[in-house]
């Protein structure tokens, strides 16, 4: 482990001082910097996924286009779906988990700062691993849910699917590690007095999401492991000749896959639940119900997976049960929609850019939700499944929901992260073009779908009645390119040129706004003692929160020696001058992640017949990984 031991810290003080340069990013354990890394990386992958979408839509602009080949197209949509789900939205959410959760609950960091860094590096390496093959035309091509037996050796002899199996396995480890971390953080690092029912809604929804991650990733890990064994070691899990049942893959995938869609949406729900009250000058309407509905959505989410399989012939009993379970989810989701509207009702609504995105989420997600309920009726779904009607549904919930919510979050929290506002008028251009482009892209898909257009086709014949809708969709996509480009420029420029923002530029009510922007590395000079859901409003505008019955039931009595009543921190100190112990920077998570990813990638050599190289790399990677772990676990944290 010489490489790992090499950058050993001559003295901890030196390390504190060094706060820039690549090395400082590689060794950071600060949740905010890790959040920032997640944000940049995920935005990059969002552009990659978007670019893939642009190529897809260009090919589909007109019938019988020859812009890309069939094979390329199949790689494009597979990678588009995989990228957007696993490399864009999930890590964008993770960026907010990292950045915000400790700030919102009044903590100095997450429970396991080094594990947190490990999660990020594993994500980054996994993302690169799965993305790079597209440059060489060997990207995964089995669709984002990779149905067996198309993904077995028999039907996919190239390395394409290997990248997908191994890549997703790697990304899963990242998500799981992060989830254990955040569960512990939220349970155990809340500031004194921050009872569960005083947690900000974003933290609550994130909390639910961590449980979904922890429970949903194991099934796909196993499903992928089977596929990996089939592909590399000749087992028979999905082998037709051995009598395998392809539905096994489908069930295991969707046991993961459906909770996964709530993993994608709940953080966005959380973000808009912060934005809407702030810009309505009112606390969230029906906080408790919002919490319970989030938990309900998460729990029910485990009982509906087979609604993706209404066409496989499960029989009428199973179809009926899964149909009704699915419909049930509309109830808690509806409650959220109505409570958001009620939050704005009787408020003073300021139409800032984040607010516009949050409102767009309500308006657009509802459309996607309604089409979701239309799929949930199995006979009707038989006309919808695997058509563009489904594509319309999931882009309305994913783009109209998750992406809108995440943009709301980015505009809302950019001032906190950088100390500067994003440019408002560029933001407005971004919003309106985005809103129009989005609807123009995806609304026509409802029609092309119900008028018979299957999804995942690289070409279609003229005269099928789909030409107009496809052209509209493609034009809409180009509008999205323009709007996204405006955002990218705004995002880059405003870091240095944006208007300066203070601690609390929007007049928000939760803890993260009580500290300087950007926050100092230790977050809170003194751990605040929390007595309500909107501590900052209690402080600055008590009228807003006067009517809220706060629960005082538990742990309100626990006080920490360092805790002080919530106040606005205007002064910046260093952790040292405050005597706050900070985690040492360390490269161990980075190298441990690297070792783990090389261990997985060793298997690729088996495909090319180099078994001894494969063995060397896998075993070597595993040894490095274990020694990395030992070296990490036996070195002091701070």
């Amino acid at each position: 482990m010489a490489t790992i031991a090499a950058p050993s810290l001559a003295s901890a003080e030196d390390a504190y001082a060094e706060n820039s340069g690549i090395w400082s990013w590689i060794t950071t354990t600060d949740h905010k910097r890790i959040g920032t890394l997640y944000l940049w990386t995920a935005l990059f992958f969002f552009l990659v996924g978007g670019l893939e979408a642009v190529l897809i839509r260009t090919q589909l602009a007109k019938p019988n286009m020859g812009f890309v080949s069939a094979e390329t197209y199949n790689q494009l949509f597979t990678m588009h779906g995989t990228t957007m789900v696993f490399l864009a939205i999930m890590p964008l959410s993770a960026a907010f988990f990292n950045y915000l959760i400790p700030l919102q609950i009044g903590a100095r960091d997450v429970a396991f700062p080094r594990l947190n860094a490990f999660s990020y590096w594993v994500f980054l390496f996994g993302g690169i691993f799965i993305t790079v093959p597209i440059l060489f035309q060997v990207a995964p091509n089995g669709g984002w849910f990779g149905y067996a037996p198309l993904t077995t050796n028999q039907f996919s002899a190239g390395p394409n699917i290997d990248f997908w199996v191994l890549g997703l396995q790697i990304l899963g480890i990242s998500s799981l590690a992060a989830a254990f971390n955040f569960i512990t953080t939220i349970i155990n690092l809340r500031a004194p007095g921050m009872t569960l029912m005083r947690m900000p809604m974003f933290t609550w929804m994130s909390f639910v999401v961590q449980f979904l991650l922890v429970l949903a990733f194991p099934p796909i890990t196993i499903a992928l492991f089977f596929l990996l064994m089939d592909r590399f070691f000749g087992t028979t899990f999905y082998e037709i000749a051995a009598g395998a049942d392809p539905l096994l893959w489908q069930h295991l995938f969707w046991v993961f896959g459906h909770p996964e869609v709530y993993i994608l949406i709940l953080p966005a729900f959380g973000l808009v639940s912060e934005v809407l009250p702030t810009f309505s000058k009112k606390p969230l309407f029906g906080y408790n119900v919002m919490v319970y509905s989030g938990i309900m959505i998460g729990t029910l989410g485990f009982g509906v997976w087979a609604h993706h399989m209404f066409a496989v012939g499960m029989g009428p009993v199973a179809d009926s049960i899964f149909s009704m379970m699915t419909m049930l989810i509309a109830i808690p989701t509806g409650v959220k929609i109505f409570n958001w509207i009620a939050t704005m009702w009787s408020g003073e609504i300021r139409f800032t850019v984040p607010m516009k995105f949050a409102i767009a989420l309500i308006a657009m997600f509802t459309i996607g939700g309604i089409s979701g309920v239309m799929h949930s009726s199995p006979p009707a779904d038989l006309q919808q499944t695997d058509t563009y009607f489904i594509v319309a549904h999931f882009h309305y919930v994913l783009f109209g929901g998750s992406i809108m919510g995440i943009f709301a979050g980015i505009y809302h929290y950019y001032p906190k992260m950088t100390g500067r506002f994003l440019n408002e008028s560029a933001g407005n251009w971004h919003f309106w073009l985005n809103f129009i482009g989005f609807n123009l892209t995806f609304f026509p898909m409802h029609f092309s779908g119900m008028l018979g257009m299957p999804r995942r086709i690289y070409t279609y014949d003229a005269g099928q009645g789909w030409d107009l809708f496809n052209m509209l969709s493609t034009v809409g996509t180009y509008i999205l390119v323009v709007s996204t480009s405006i955002f990218v420029v705004n995002f880059l420029r405003s870091r240095t040129r944006g208007l300066k923002a203070g601690n609390d530029p929007w007049g928000a009510g939760t803890l993260e706004w009580s500290i300087p922007s950007p926050p100092p590395d230790y977050n809170f000079a003194q751990i605040p003692e929390v007595t309500s859901r909107y501590p900052l409003w209690d402080l600055k505008d008590p009228a807003k929160t006067a009517g809220i019955a706060h629960s005082h039931a538990d742990s309100a009595t626990i006080t920490d020696a360092h805790a002080v009543p919530v106040h606005e921190e205007t002064e910046r100190h260093t952790a040292k001058s405050l005597g706050i112990p900070m985690p040492f920077p360390t490269s161990k998570p980075f190298f441990t992640a690297l070792a783990m990813v090389s261990m997985f990638s060793g298997l690729l050599f088996r495909r090319s017949g180099h078994d001894s190289i494969a063995l060397t790399v896998v075993v070597g990677g595993a040894l490095l990984f274990v020694s990395g772990l030992y070296s990490w676990l036996t070195s002091p944290l701070e």
Binding site: I187, F211, V214, L215, P219, D245, L247, H251, V255, T299, F302, G303, A306, M314, G315, P316, V317, A318, D554, S555
Partner: protein, 105 residues
Amino acid sequence: MSSDTKHAAHAHPDGWTYVKVGVILTLITVIEVWAYYVPALVAHPFFNPGLIILSAIKFATVVLFYMHLKYDHRLFRVLFTGPLIIAGCTITALLFLFHHFKTVS
């Protein structure tokens, strides 16, 4: 949180209790294996459910005593039973979907 972990630690059963639990677990295992060799029992419709109940008892015993969930913070109970229930339901549903239970349809 009313329960005091330090105090709870002292309330842990002593070594003999653990040994007794071990004996019970062994006995149940012996019964299970014995039943496996009695053809009349194996043919009985309650054989499988019976075995599952016995193993569930063993499962619960280890979790409650050896993993001292019985004495520990209730948070851990939630962290364990929640997932366990979801896992159990998932297995049941999957077996149903793959026709391992006779259905009326």
